[in-house]
Assembly symmetry: C2
Homo-oligomer: 166 residues x 2
DNA sequence: TATTGTTATACTCTATAACTATA
DNA sequence: TATAGTTATAGAGTATAACAATA
């Protein structure tokens, strides 16, 4: 309440929380996690985004690129750069929608499904190392909190009936 | 234990957890968080990494670039690209160590401290929006879990007595 | 005119290796 | 020879805008 060496409690509180605020921790540790997952996915010829893409196709079935982009929260232009090599490798196929010839319906192939399983196993190993210091209870708590966060952020990506997975 | 439509429980468990595993959630939501924090920091002329850098100097006092890089978990070569514009803007100063003329000791200036406070406020606003759906208890739980994770990952960056902040 | 998908360009962040100056 | 810092180059990921084909 006085003195020139005594900052206000409010400002000091913010200053003290800078490096350990949940937002900055999430951003920086997320970067670290992404690096590890990328190494795991790269080992089987995928990127994390391509893994997410294949997993969405597996969980929700074939869909158009617009919907795929919305569920992933990425621009359609980025989607193309993810899809092209996957199609070239036969992990998925793009087929014109007979009802609306503008649309390309993306299908997961059997080869793609098998590759997805390999990548999932590699990812699991990477996560076990990443979260080695956290017990099962802590991992589940973290998962639940992040799921709640994702659900709350989803509307920003989706327009209406879509349900983005991130 | 039978049938061609019945995958093993283990594989199926991994497959089901793909898109909602704590690791992928952390990686993808971290990317989202980084985007928002970057917008906040950019508004006051900084990047998230530069914010982290200034905050470290504020919390731990002047230090050499090697130590700074270790605490941030980045290569010294990246550090230079972060430091140069900050020094040009007068937010910090590099001074040769008289005892070891190879070392450059980095000091936070008063201007830098004030800019750090502005950035911290902008970051706080961004985080309030980002975590709007989480109550105080959930934010604190998340913060604690991420702090535990950071502490466990620290040894990967530091060599010995260093204590990286991320 | 609006929508689906594509292409082209640029920007941010990071990793790696080669370089200098000091020790 | 080893270390502190610097520079140069390349790569991954993403955002933006302009474009072609179809509705």
């Amino acid at each position: 309440m006085s003195g020139d060496e005594q900052p206000s409690t409010t400002t000091e509180g913010i200053l003290k929380a800078r490096l350990s605020s949940p937002g900055l921790l999430l951003a920086l540790l997320g970067q670290s996690a992404m690096r590890r997952l990328r190494a795991a996915h790269n080992a089987v010829g995928l990127t994390p985004r391509q893994f997410q893409l294949l997993a969405l196709l597996h969980d929700h079935g074939p869909m158009g690129q617009r919907e795929l982009g919305k569920r992933m929260g990425v621009d359609p232009s980025i989607l193309v750069t993810l899809l092209n090599p996957l199609e070239a490798d036969g992990l998925l196929s793009r087929e014109r929608d007979a009802a609306d010839r503008r649309r390309h319906i993306v299908h997961l192939t059997d080869v793609g499904a098998r590759q997805l399983t390999r990548a999932a196993l590699a990812q699991q190993e990477a996560e076990d190392l990443l979260f080695a210091a956290l017990d099962e209870r802590q991992r589940e708590d973290l998962r639940r909190l992040l799921l709640a966060l994702r659900a709350s952020l989803a509307p920003a990506f989706a327009s209406a009936e879509e349900t983005p997975e991130c």
